[in-house]
Symmetry: C2
Subunit: 205 residues, 2 copies
DNA sequence: TGGTTAATATACCATTTGGTATGATAACTA
DNA sequence: TAGTTATCATACCAAATGGTATATTAACCA
């Protein structure tokens, strides 16, 4: 009848939800366990401190979320630059209004905790580094395949793209206006097209 | 010997500093007055609640900061687009490393409080709307004067520019690497140049 | 000058918080 | 099956928090 993995996962899930809605400081351990069928005893069995729970969210939930939403889908596109543009659009379309108003979970936690706790800082930094590096890989491939002008710097573009993806969420959260999302989408699209080119015919075969 | 305005200002200043460093929730009223020569009695004489203090910070401190840092300096440039680029550079250069690690005060407070308290949300939204609108004015002027291509949408560009200005701070805060700031600066510059043009000779005179 | 009000200090409180000590129960193992 | 351990529940606590009640002092005004 007992299922430790499930139990831990349910705490982690409830905690993420609550923290996403109300912020880390404003979410109490009591509220978290209140969202589950468990009690405080179970909580502190799996996480020796509230901060430890936060670390687990960064390490497991946020990292996985970034990969699932922003990175893995890119593999399906022949032109990675088109992939980045399309995915951005898809995410706008598929994100419910409620989440728009809540912003990006990674950015929320970073702004709140990064300058206050060095362990949080390192873990959240790692997630963003991963996000950027994986984006950079696709941009490097895009340049090699001739979709990008030869003088573009993939790392620089990756940093800019990720910053826009996060910044767009942050701004929409603040302004509470989904139209702004489309406006920013248009600008990012314009920027990426300005550094793109039609791929020349490959020498291969 | 008493100076109410000065007293209020000193509370507001200490509060801004402390909240900028540790976040709103993690800053207690006791810590704020501890940073001044006053006591809790004075605090609650000027701000009937801790939230009220936060509202005052948004209304007075943050709004003034945006105007002073991002808007007013633009008046000195003949080409507003060049002004935006130059100011961005100047702010990178003049912002101390400590502040880089703390991010943008407006963004910090927004991410933490906007989805939790509707009054905060409205006040912070107003600050950002002002930021965008004032930027838009300069971009409109730039287009009229021929510095921007005629088909650019000043509102759209303004939203993008402000998002980059804020998002850059957020990303640098997360990555703790000032070099990233220059990387983002380069991308913004490239973007703005891609929608610029050499001004045609005016018909005037 | 006397009294009223504004400005600031001091002492206190109810509530909430993260965390602990300990108890109970299920599961696994020898 | 007995005993050990992992899993979860319950009851409790010290500290900190936002806020209040009240005292004190400075300033202004009639």
């Amino acid at each position: 009848m007992r299922d430790p993995e499930r139990t831990r996962a349910s705490i982690l899930g409830a905690a993420f939800d609550e923290i996403y809605h109300r912020g880390f400081h404003d979410t109490s351990v009591n509220e978290i366990v209140g969202k589950t069928t468990l009690t405080k005893g179970a909580f502190f069995h799996y996480f020796s401190t509230k901060n430890d729970l936060g670390y687990a969210i960064a390490d497991e939930v946020l990292k996985e979320m970034v990969l699932e939403r922003w990175i893995r889908p890119l593999a399906a596109y022949k032109n990675p630059v088109q992939g980045i543009i399309s995915r951005f659009r898809k995410i706008i379309e598929s994100t419910p209004d409620e989440h728009m108003a809540l912003g990006c979970p990674l950015n929320n936690l970073t702004q709140e905790m990064s300058s206050v706790d060095p362990v949080f800082r390192e873990k959240l930094r790692a997630v963003m580094q991963l996000w950027i590096s994986e984006t950079e890989k696709y941009l490097t491939k895009a340049r090699e395949q001739g979709y990008l002008k030869p003088d573009v710097n993939p790392r620089q573009v990756a940093e800019f793209v990720v910053m826009v993806e996060e910044g767009a969420f942050a701004m929409v959260k603040n302004l509470r206006d989904k139209k702004v999302y489309w406006s920013l989408y248009g600008s990012l699209k314009g920027y990426l097209e300005s550094i793109s080119q039609k791929p020349t015919e490959q020498l291969s075969a």
